[in-house]
Symmetry: C3
Subunit: 339 residues, 3 copies
């Protein structure tokens, strides 16, 4: 492997982290990873961060085995489902060696399942978003209830009805924390500091994406409070992460920013909150988390009408690539000069 190859490999892998929020930028991915490490250590679950790295690498490698072209891999499209698998497995399952084997296997499967689901959805000009991660992680988390090798240590207990409190601390400082946790929970991290990492990472690549992530979390927080949803979930940011993704997807990824787009995005964000609450209730008897399922379902429903708002032209990330190259060449220069 030449240093050029290594450079491409690292950049492609980091972009996989960035693509979870639709950003084809290695820098954004690096900040996301930093946020994950911060949050994982803060909550004394460092394995979540290492799982993220393992899942990211495994799913990216899986693409190399099968893809006719490396273009999607270099855009980070092989890794974004795998990194989420890597966050989810150590969050919900006990750390056995079988769990790590399953984590790697499941991460690799996401890349292949993504290829298949994208084929299915191509006629309607939508893609599978993070659904390969969602579907496969649901399967493995459910399987953990039938397999002692991957025990469901941190999954909820299956229950027919959830009792919940609506008593919420609504001081300004608390609301800001819920709002930032709505962003951090995109990667299953419960930390407002991580939320800041993620917003900064987004702003590095696209100010619109940072705006819509912030707006999506804020709007969903307001809707959840107005409709008196489960206070613990609100405080943990669990009503925020899917709307954050819906907001970035509709607000500045699949449509170009504009007035019509903004209205449609707000409607989509509000809808996501109800889909989140509905799926929470639906999954209670299985003790299963919704993951980013509410985002996928709502975004599909809002893209499928094929309304002509402000159709997006593919964004160019050339500046980020050259930026990265400049950074690496500066590093190499330094290394050379220290010889």
């Amino acid at each position: 492997m030449t240093s050029q190859d290594f450079n491409v490999a690292v950049r492609s892998t980091l972009r996989g982290a960035g693509q979870v929020m639709f950003q084809q930028s290695a820098w954004t991915g690096l900040l996301f990873l930093a946020g994950i490490f911060w949050g994982a250590y803060e909550s004394h679950t460092p394995l979540v961060a290492y799982g993220a790295v393992v899942g990211l690498i495994a799913s990216t490698i899986a693409g190399l085995f099968t893809a006719p072209s490396r273009t999607p891999g270099e855009a980070g499209l092989w890794g974004f489902n795998g990194i989420l698998v890597g966050c989810a497995f150590p969050t919900f399952l006990g750390s056995t060696w079988q769990m790590w084997v399953a984590l790697i296997f499941c991460s690799m499967l996401t890349t292949w399942v993504r290829a298949g689901l994208n084929n299915v959805m191509a006629p309607w000009k939508v893609n599978s978003l993070t659904f390969p991660f969602v579907l496969l992680t649901w399967i493995f988390l459910l399987a953990s209830r039938m397999m002692d090798g991957i025990a469901p240590d941190a999954l909820s207990t299956p229950a027919l009805t959830e009792h919940f409190s609506t008593t919420l601390d609504t001081s300004f400082g608390s609301l800001v924390q819920y709002w930032l946790k709505g962003v951090s929970q995109v990667f299953l991290i419960n930390s407002w500091v991580t939320g800041i990492f993620f917003l900064v990472g987004l702003a590095l690549c696209s100010r619109w994406a940072a705006f819509w992530a912030a707006a999506g979390s804020a709007i969903s927080l307001a809707v959840a409070i107005i409709f008196k949803a489960d206070a613990a979930d609100i405080a943990g940011g669990l009503f925020g992460f899917s709307p954050v993704l819906t907001a970035i997807a509709l607000g500045c990824t699949f449509y170009k920013p504009g007035v019509k787009t903004a209205i449609w995005t707000v409607v989509g964000v509000i809808a996501t909150v109800f889909v989140q609450a509905g799926m929470d209730a639906y999954f209670a008897p299985f003790g299963l988390p919704t993951l980013t399922g509410p985002f996928c379902i709502t975004t599909w429903l809002f893209l499928l009408p094929l309304f002509k708002l402000n159709p997006q032209t593919p964004p160019t990330h050339a500046e980020w690539d050259s930026e990265w190259d400049r950074f690496v060449s500066r590093l190499r220069d330094k290394k050379d000069s220290t010889k």
Copy 2:
């Protein structure tokens, strides 16, 4: 808004009520609404009728915001999902202001989700039927279990197994009531008088539709009794409403009436009863009603083989339009003469 515009708006909206049973007629819609008001007041739940009106209007207006053409709206195709949302919300949820906001929001969503689902299904020459109503109402009813603002006051308690009695009063008078309630439950109304309203409304527009609605309810009643289904559900018409819709859909909407069509329709109606019973059992742990889901699923399964029975040519409703115009002009003449 000119009186001409108002005329079109009222006609289009009323047709939305008629399209629930595939009738593009404002008169039929008017009789359906009359039946809904009768049944809602009879059972001391008048909010169901007002919800129906609100949902019908909200979903029709939603179409104006986004549709490139008004043709489907004028055929009543924007309103038929919304009126069902409007019947369902006050039936199952407590009347809070948040519930009414959610009712309006969900009704509007049906129009947009319908556009998307129809795009998905177009290649197989089927459409989304009442599934936008079904899907979105499932989501909001489930969400009500996680949101105190829209409390699930009249939803069933989630349960793993349903205990039911098969002791049924099978006197002739009772059977006639069950049969008519099978028709009225299409709009979630439990009243045999409303069933008569609906059958008359159908006959105004299409005798075949009235025949198949009556036959669908009768056949499903017989199947449910023969297979000893839940007596309370049979008595409430809950095994009838989906077969009624399947019967109209297959018997005289998507196929032209004829011997082959009739046989296929009877098979479809019988199948719908099993799908209804199966979905009842599936939804018990969620305490969720099936709504018209069994009709959608069965009708799709019976249309997808694309068998060539008697393919339907689009029916002309010109006579109903001119009839409506004559009625309105008569009213206007009267109004003028009383000046």
Copy 3:
């Protein structure tokens, strides 16, 4: 009906049994039926075998009513879902006359539903596999909980969590039995002798199919043991039957045997075990068996990427046809000579 017609009818029907494992051979079908009869009598549930025959015939006849061409019927493609319905109903439901009516009705429906689902899936070059059987049997088994006429006598009790033991007898003799039962459970038969019947039947038509069935059961057994799955299910072959079908489908039916195909098939077989365990957990609250659902879902996921491994050219079964003709003509000769 001429003796020629009768000949074709018997051959087409028997091929329906063979097509459950993708073999268009009446001899294979005959051995499968023999295995079913052996297993059904061994476990004192002979009705399962007669149900299989009734379901096979009913679904094959259903094709005659609607199909524009008899070609798929003569390849056995009308019968393979029906024979599985016929095995499943007497396995899980009490033997009432309504159950037998439902069995015949549901078997016939599979043929029509298959036509529809194949239309849906055609654009992605996959077909509905055994999913018509799976979907319709789920519906009728669920319906049995709401209908006393078809009581769910042998279905599991719905439960939120399954308690299971991982204490497994792993003596060599036991492992061989589990392995063979993994094959026999394809037709819901719990008998290692039947497993031998099935493997021999496969080998008669295709050695690759026999190899992959054996390998699929062995690999899935190993994975289930390594991940410490439910011991009772492992011992009953319940982690084996779906992987067996995945193995035959991927290993030598939809792809031509080869190194790449073999690797992909092994990955698919391992994935099927997790899908099986996941669906077991998902269906626990409904007390519903997964049937061959895990096979369908996994095989679709592994075909949909449309990877170019070794694309299969349609296999010729001409030799089996001529073999059958020779056999029948020999019989006829004998009969003639005894006159």
